[in-house]
């Protein structure tokens, strides 16, 4: 026997050598996959982000755990099914029930199958929740020393075993495949290892545990044999102990070809698609709904000595691209027997279950703080994962959540939907098809409307996350949209729909879970027209996988549109080379491109006009009031805490800085403090321009009438509130008119002069208790107010925020613009803390005024 084994190893090695010598061998056909098993380095040095939970599953009193290789997750995604060998490594002679169901807490809730099976080996739960089990041995009497590998069928006298059973979830026997006691080919089975039922009902069984047979059998859903493939061997199309079966979301059949130290991937007709050696020697293979693959190696360097250098344990990776990302090593170092898990499964939360034959145990593995990856996560002072930074999705989900080929303007991409199909109701499927046909005009984003949640999260634009104890705020490049996620335990304040919904988050361990409600029925999920109603409820989960990766998941429920809830997931990646989220003012760019918003060469920045911009140094009035005696809110670092909802007591600044009292506009007390008299110090041309802009036919030209961003300082004194989010490194101003200002406090330089922005490039620093913000790189497209006060691209601004009390900030802005003014000037007003929360001004949703203003303009030209 020993010689035979050596000969077999030699054959394997020779074949391996042949493969290395001929990398174009048809054995490996899928592109991008690992070449040549002989050339693969052992995948032992991977992080183990899991913590092992032993003795989680409780046997009833008087019963102890026997060997088990059969473990599977219930249809509910949480309960665990096990085939257990009656306290020993066989159920021969025992009447104990061998098929056990545990709930998610580890409590035994159902058991059946007593006296029916000899050697429960493989287990599967089909989509209807039925339990399928293989019985891998028989009850034939065997003389000591009988060598199973010489046999291609059961020895004489077998009356039981070598069959496959289908049970209802309650344990009622529904179907039996195979002959009691077994049969040799062309009959079946002899040593059936594993069972799998495809979504279409086709049944696959892998056979041959060391006997002379090794093959896959395919049956129709009613149990009729359709075909078989595979003979014993290590060549192309051969198998040696096909110990485990799994299927990915594409319907590819993964066979754990154990004694060949490889996974072989077939289509459902038995055509070989790929060979993967990188998951080591597969005793167990499991693929979850997200195509995460889990592979258990219980034999390398122990039972098997033809795979030295590879460690036993559970490897985790991607069934899509074959990457191996994590490894749970066998705690036992040296042994000659089977050790660690032979069977493996993972529940809907990603917990792994390993069924062990040698150690006679079922172990649970959980991702947890304290595990390797969790230890390396950046964390906030209160211990939460620190999600702050600039991120962008790595996915083509923005084009179509489902698998999609390329179309014009729509690159191809793989599905981010669990199970790959969005479960529309019939009417909604028709509506989606109609949306798709009309997508270039019907997509709400074609009009630059707000994208909604979750769509904004996977658009291919960067965004920056800011995190405090009470809020997670996200500022997006696209249209300067933002999200305010309240993590302060509050609930939605108003029962109203919003384009971006209402977001309330909570930390569950290291996971940020966000309930997004109050959706309108206008937004889409993607460019392909996938849609929802106002009954949409989204539950997002932000799971920091490592310092530079967040797994973003969203459960999507909308009973008006879908037949059941569904789920998407995709990675967000830290954009390490991006230091600044820029602006994509979609609507402004659209109107500039189509001529509705026309350039003004006197004020707009044009490349090359940079020489007109002076150095930033300004004559800032030294007016910082003494505040030391006032009780202020303060941050842990002692800086004033400016955070919260504020609105300017603006003195009518949006209708002029000098005192005014005209019909239709609120009276103004005047906010200009320097120069103290004489009004704004205009250059002559600009004074004339201001008067012209105040004519009715110029009302159309005010950018805010188009819903564009207000610029600096106007955004703060338009009659809308804003929320200040303050961290040690940033001040973020979220403007209710759906725009933002990100103000870094880290002393970085300004953007190069050629970069021009509606809200400019703002940098902040503290001078005592005063926050000073210096803004440059403005684009000169904004007006200072509705009466047409002028600024150009030469504008620079120094703003001073000085807390005057717990609820009041004294605000000053000094504007310098030598193209428009003869000297710098300064306005001042208090900012007052407000009750309540930001609402959402989706200004484009019903901006009828713009057309009316256009009518007036066009009428004046007749």
């Amino acid at each position: 026997m020993a010689n035979r084994v050596v000969a077999k190893i030699l054959i394997v090695l020779l074949l391996g050598a042949t493969l290395v010598a001929h990398p174009s061998t048809p054995l490996r056909t899928a592109p991008g996959q690992v070449e040549g098993q002989g050339g693969v380095q052992p995948t032992n040095s991977l992080p183990n982000p899991y913590r092992t939970v032993e003795n989680y599953f409780k046997m009833p009193d008087g019963r102890t755990w026997g060997s088990t290789s059969a473990v599977e997750i219930d249809k509910d995604g949480r309960s665990i099914w096990v085939g257990e060998r009656c306290g020993a490594n066989t159920c021969a002679g025992s009447n104990l029930p061998s098929i056990l169901k545990f709930d998610a807490s580890g409590k035994l809730v159902r058991s059946f199958g007593g006296g029916m099976l000899i050697f429960p080996h493989g287990i599967f739960v089909d989509r209807d929740g039925n339990i399928w089990v293989t019985d891998g041995q028989d009850n034939a009497p065997r003389a000591p020393g009988t060598v199973a590998s010489t046999l291609a069928g059961p020895p004489p006298g077998a009356t039981k075993g070598n069959q496959v059973f289908k049970f209802s979830p309650e344990g009622k026997l529904l179907m039996t495949l195979g002959t009691p006691g077994g049969a040799a080919a062309p009959g079946f089975f002899y040593q059936p290892n594993d069972i799998l039922v495809a979504p279409n009902g086709s049944i696959f069984v892998s056979e041959g545990h060391g006997g002379a047979n090794s093959r896959i059998l395919k049956f129709s859903k009613d149990g009729k044999l359709i075909k078989t493939w595979g003979t014993k061997g290590s060549g192309d199309g051969q198998l040696d102990g096909p110990h485990a079966l799994a299927m990915d979301s594409q319907g590819r059949l993964f066979v754990g070809d154990r004694s060949n130290n490889r996974i072989v991937i077939f289509d459902q007709e038995g055509r070989q698609l790929a060979v993967w050696p990188q998951f080591s020697r597969p005793s167990g293979v499991y693929i979850d709904k997200r195509d995460v693959i889990y592979v258990a190696d219980s034999e390398s360097e122990s039972v098997s000595r033809n795979h030295d250098g590879w460690k036993r344990g559970i490897r985790v990776g991607s069934a899509r691209d074959g990457s191996v990302t994590a490894f749970i090593p066998d705690p036992v170092d040296k042994t000659t027997g089977t050790s660690a898990a032979e069977g493996v499964a993972a529940d809907a939360d990603g917990n792994i279950y390993g069924a062990e034959v040698g150690p006679k145990a079922l172990k649970k593995y959980v991702r947890a703080p304290g595990a390797a990856a969790a230890r390396t996560l950046p964390r906030t002072p209160d211990g939460k994962p620190d999600l702050q930074g600039i991120w962008q999705v790595r996915s083509r989900a923005a084009y179509d959540l489902e698998d999609h080929p390329a179309r014009y303007g729509m690159p191809a991409g793989r599905s981010v939907v669990e199970g790959d199909v969005i479960p529309y109701q019939p009417w909604a499927a028709a509506k989606k098809r109609e949306n798709f046909e009309r997508r270039t005009t019907a997509d709400p984003l074609a009009q630059c409307y707000l994208p909604g949640v979750p769509r904004i999260m996977y658009m291919e634009y960067p965004f920056q996350i800011f995190q405090t104890r009470d809020h997670v705020a996200i500022a997006f490049e696209w249209q300067q949209v933002f999200r305010m996620i309240y993590t302060n335990g509050s609930r939605p304040a108003l029962p109203l729909p919003f384009w971006m919904g209402d977001s309330r988050g909570r930390w569950e361990g290291d996971t940020l879970t966000v309930d997004v409600t109050n959706h309108n029925d206008h937004t889409w999920f993607d460019m392909a027209g996938n849609f929802h109603s106002d009954a949409l409820h989204v539950v997002e989960r932000y799971v920091m996988v490592d310092a530079d990766t967040i797994r973003y998941e969203a459960d999507i429920d909308d009973p008006k549109v879908f037949t059941r809830p569904w789920k998407i997931s995709m990675p967000l990646q830290r954009q390490k080379d991006v230091t600044r989220v820029l602006e994509y003012q979609c609507r402004a760019e659209m109107e500039e491109a189509n001529g509705d918003f026309k350039p003004d060469s006197r004020t707009w920045y044009q490349k090359g006009s940079s020489s007109a911009v002076p150095a930033v140094a300004q004559q800032v009035r030294a007016t910082a009031p003494a505040v030391a005696s006032v009780a202020l809110r303060r941050m842990p670092d002692g800086k004033p805490d400016l955070s919260g909802l504020f609105q300017a007591d603006a003195g009518g600044a949006n209708w002029g800085f000098e005192p005014h009292n005209e019909p239709f506009t609120p009276g103004g007390r005047g906010v200009l403090v320097d120069p103290p008299s004489g009004g704004l110090p205009y250059q002559p041309w600009a004074k004339e321009e201001k008067v012209n802009r105040n004519l009715p036919e110029r009302g159309y030209d005010d950018p805010t009438a188009h819903c564009f961003a207000g610029g600096v300082p106007r955004s703060l004194y338009v009659p809308s509130p804003f929320h200040i989010v303050q961290t040690p490194a940033y001040v973020l101003i979220l403007l209710e008119r759906m725009s933002w200002r990100i103000v870094p406090l880290d002393g970085r330089p300004h953007l190069p002069d050629t970069m021009r922005l509606w809200q400019g490039d703002s940098l902040g620093h503290w001078e005592g208790d005063t926050l000073v913000i210096q803004t440059t790189n403005l684009n000169g497209k904004t007006w200072l107010n509705e009466v047409g006060d002028v600024v150009s691209h030469a504008e620079t601004v120094v703003e001073r925020f000085t807390p005057a009390s717990a609820d009041t900030i004294q605000y000053e802005a000094t504007v310098n613009d030598p193209i428009v003014f003869t000297r710098p000037w300064t306005i001042a007003m208090p900012l007052k803390r407000q009750e309540g929360e930001l609402l959402e001004v989706a200004c484009l949703e019903d901006n009828q005024d713009l057309q009316h203003l256009k009518d007036v303009r066009d009428g004046s030209r007749k």
Binding site: A648, P719, S720
Partner: protein, 132 residues
């Protein structure tokens, strides 16, 4: 204070002192062309940047014209406690306002009187900080 008086106070505050303007009102409406109309509410748009109340008005010849009256932004109305059910369709209202410059049947709302006497007051442009 009765509920009705309380609500009237809310409505007054909403319209008189806390509308959000995002464009020049004198460019869109004509202060020299006041108008008073009575009609039946056909639709109220609780939208941004302004809300709109639509009423059917019968002229001297019996012809019905649907007029649009601009109000403050929906957000500002909501903040002051307004809800869509306060002005259901079918309500007969009288509105004072100023005509649009573009000549369409449209005006800016100065004062709206509901059948029970509650009033919305103030042009949509009359914005300012929230009253205490």
């Amino acid at each position: 204070m009765t509920g009705r008086v309380w609500l009237a106070t809310i409505l007054y505050c909403a319209m008189a002192s806390h509308a959000a303007a995002h464009h020049s009102f004198s460019a869109e409406f004509d202060i020299n062309k006041p108008v008073t109309l009575t009609g039946t509410v056909t639709m109220v748009r609780w939208s941004n940047p302004h809300g709109w109340i639509y009423i059917d008005v019968k002229d001297a010849n019996g012809k019905v014209v649907n007029w649009a009256f601009e109000t403050a932004a929906a957000n500002q109305l909501y903040r002051r406690g307004w809800r869509p059910e306060d002005i259901p369709t079918g309500t007969v209202v009288t509105i004072d306002g100023w005509l649009a410059r573009n000549g369409s049947p449209m005006a800016n709302t100065d004062k709206l009187v509901l059948p029970d006497g509650r009033k919305l007051l103030g042009p949509a442009a009359n914005a300012g900080p929230p009253t205490p």
